[in-house]
């Protein structure tokens, strides 16, 4: 089979999976306890007509299969209906928050991968050295630290004690007018949450890079390379690294759901207005339409990441059978 057909097949397959996730997502929320009217009506008393209106708003009066089609349509068009809590359109809320989350996750992921792999490779290269020992301990430590606590510590030290960084938010309030200054302002606000989320991931990347490299270094082809006269550095960076890359790429896809978890905590601590924070508040209010939309997005992200990994694998791992 050609690479093209392989990719097509993966895409098709991802769609099937997505459909499966969509359906599961629908079923889970139909089975969830509590009815929306009760959730909305907490704190106000509703007349029967009002209750009817709300039921209509969420289409709850319709038979399940009609609701399902409605749900499919609203999900696939990124409309997502209305929040139980704010009665606002969920799609709009999500689009507003998406860029902030992408920025926070993207930047921290980028630096975590970069620093994690570079230091991981170096630690593997200098295995047993003081550098190796310290970076492994630091990684284990940062990996084990609770993110929420870490974030608060950062705010306390960086924001309060030294006053170097802002305590909350994505921008100065009110924000600077000059667009260039605004970019710096954003970076300044991104620093602490970014660092927190970076530390959330960094250790895992370093440890994984180091261990896959060390594993690769015990393979027979490494002895062959050494026998050929390849230098220690060449062995590490060319022969071992190319092989260690493969699990690394898989790991990116596997890390994303965990990263979302970290983002929920980080965004909450830092008042960073993104999807994580949205998830947190939706959970607080048992806001099912919002949670349903977010779960769908998380599933979508996971599936897309897997698809990307599969495709990238197709290119970088010659052993993949199409």
């Amino acid at each position: 089979m050609s690479l093209k057909r392989y990719i097509l097949k993966r895409i098709l397959y991802s769609f099937v999976l997505l459909f499966f996730a969509l359906t599961l997502n629908f079923i889970i929320f139909r089975m969830a306890p509590g009815n929306p009217i009760q959730i909305v009506a907490s704190g106000m008393r509703l007349e029967p007509e009002q209750v009817e209106r709300l039921i209509e708003l969420w289409g709850l009066q319709e038979p399940l299969h009609v609701q399902y089609v409605r749900y499919l349509k609203s999900t696939l068009t990124w409309d997502f209906g209305y929040s139980y809590n704010s009665l606002e359109p969920v799609g709009r809320e999500i689009m507003e928050r998406l860029p902030n989350t992408l920025l926070l996750m993207g930047v921290s992921l980028f630096f975590a991968i970069t620093f994690g792999t570079v230091f991981g490779i170096y630690a593997a290269y200098k295995r047993g050295s003081l550098f190796d020992l310290t970076s492994v301990s630091i990684s284990l430590f940062s990996y084990a630290l609770p993110t929420f606590w870490m974030g608060l510590l950062m705010i306390y030290v960086g924001g309060y004690v030294f006053g170097l960084f802002p305590l909350a938010g994505t921008m100065s309030r009110p924000p600077p007018l000059d667009p260039i200054v605004r970019i710096f302002d954003l970076a300044w606000h991104l620093f602490l949450p970014g660092l927190t989320l970076f530390l959330f991931q960094y250790g895992a990347w370093l440890l994984m890079m180091r261990s896959t490299l060390l594993e690769a270094l015990h393979e027979d082809y490494i002895t062959t390379a050494r026998a050929k006269g390849v230098s220690e550095r060449g062995v590490l960076f060319k022969h071992a690294f190319r092989n260690a890359m493969l699990p690394l790429v898989t790991n990116i896809a596997l890390q994303i759901p965990g990263l979302l978890n970290g983002a929920i905590l980080t965004e909450t601590v830092f008042s960073w207005r993104g999807l994580g924070l949205y998830t947190w508040s939706a959970i607080q209010f048992t806001d099912y339409p919002v949670l349903q939309a977010l779960f769908y997005i998380f599933a979508l992200v996971t599936i897309v990441c897997n698809l990307i990994v599969d495709v990238v694998y197709g290119y970088i791992d010659p052993r993949i059978q199409y």
Partner: protein
């Protein structure tokens, strides 16, 4: 003149349980243009000896003593870089066991061969190197266009041929082949042996062939070394050793070895009673004495018997060699 002369080589592995004396005072000679076999039970230190020629030992393996003279130079005294650039592959190359893993799975075969050339003749152009690589593939009966493929697309036999082609890439004076045919089926084994024999003749190669399968050595080698528990117990011309094994261990090995044509009887060494010794704590005296039918009190005492020339170019390390009168 001897191409390679190893004297009193000691290679120990340092483990948490203690020191594994995998090679313990080995003397070993390869004459130019000859191929020398190295046989022995599994775990007796054959691979360790082979790897130590190229200083490729695992991290915990140390060369604790002895010297290695190659073409008159003491190559162990070279610094690391010199050794890497000049000795490895350039003078001594190696054919590893033919399993999947000896070739790097993520690089094309021809690139891996070309890499070996590049490392030792940096001035060549890439296209030249690739052309040479394809030539080499042709020499080992592989379609040169296959070079563009990855190792996993090769069959086991092809991979081993590619390995051989790679070993020849820098025109080495000595090729070490560690179990070149193990784990391959009989027909492929035979083809490979033919290939090695042909190449040896064509290129006047000097070779060290390591195998626990003595029949392979019988077909390929001019001389044979028998190793037991980290020591060479007998060596000599192939015919001499085969027809008149003087060490009791050698006798045991040879007496029932299967021929290449008769490989169904795979069980090779079962008949030697007892198990090979633990190299962490080898027996005092002759290391073979617990299993030896002719052992006497002297065999159990130190010092361990040294190799001595028992007839022309035939050495044995035994207090009571076979054929000697007691």
């Amino acid at each position: 003149m001897n191409l390679l002369e190893v004297s009193d080589l000691k290679v120990y592995y340092h483990t948490t349980k203690g020191v594994v004396k995998a090679v313990d005072g080995v003397n070993f000679i390869v004459e130019e243009g000859t191929s020398v076999g190295l046989a022995g039970e599994s775990g007796c230190g054959k691979t360790t000896l082979g790897l130590s020629f190229l200083k490729l030992l695992p991290e915990n393996g140390m060369i604790e003593g002895g010297s290695l003279i190659f073409e008159g130079d003491d190559i162990y005294s070279l610094d690391e870089k010199d050794f890497r650039v000049n000795v490895r592959w350039n003078q001594i190359s190696m054919i590893f066991q033919g399993a999947m893993n000896a070739l790097n799975p993520v690089f094309k075969v021809e690139d891996q061969i070309a890499e070996a050339i590049k490392l030792h003749s940096t001035k060549t152009k890439k296209s030249e190197r690739l052309a040479t690589a394809r030539d080499l593939l042709k020499r080992v009966d592989i379609d040169p266009t296959m070079g563009r493929h990855y190792p996993h697309e090769f069959s086991g036999g092809m991979r081993q041929r590619a390995m051989i082609a790679m070993a020849l890439a820098c025109d080495p004076q000595l090729v070490i082949a560690d179990e070149p045919t193990t784990a391959l089926d009989v027909i492929v084994q035979k083809q490979l042996m033919d290939l090695l024999r042909r190449l040896k003749a064509e290129m006047n190669l000097s070779m060290v062939v390591i195998s626990h399968d003595i029949s392979v050595l019988a077909e390929l080698c001019d001389y044979l070394n028998i190793m037991y528990a980290g020591r060479i117990v007998e060596w000599g011309g192939i015919e001499g050793v085969f027809e008149n094994p003087r060490h009791h261990y050698t006798h045991g090995l040879i007496s029932t070895f299967p021929t290449v044509e008769d490989k169904e009887r795979k069980s090779t060494f079962e008949f030697i009673p007892g198990a090979p010794p633990n190299l962490l704590d080898p027996p005092l005296g002759c290391r073979f004495h617990p299993r030896c039918p002719a052992a006497t009190e002297i065999c159990r005492q130190e010092p361990t018997p040294e190799l001595r020339e028992i007839s022309e170019k035939h050495y044995v390390a035994c207090h009571h060699p076979r054929g000697d009168l007691h």
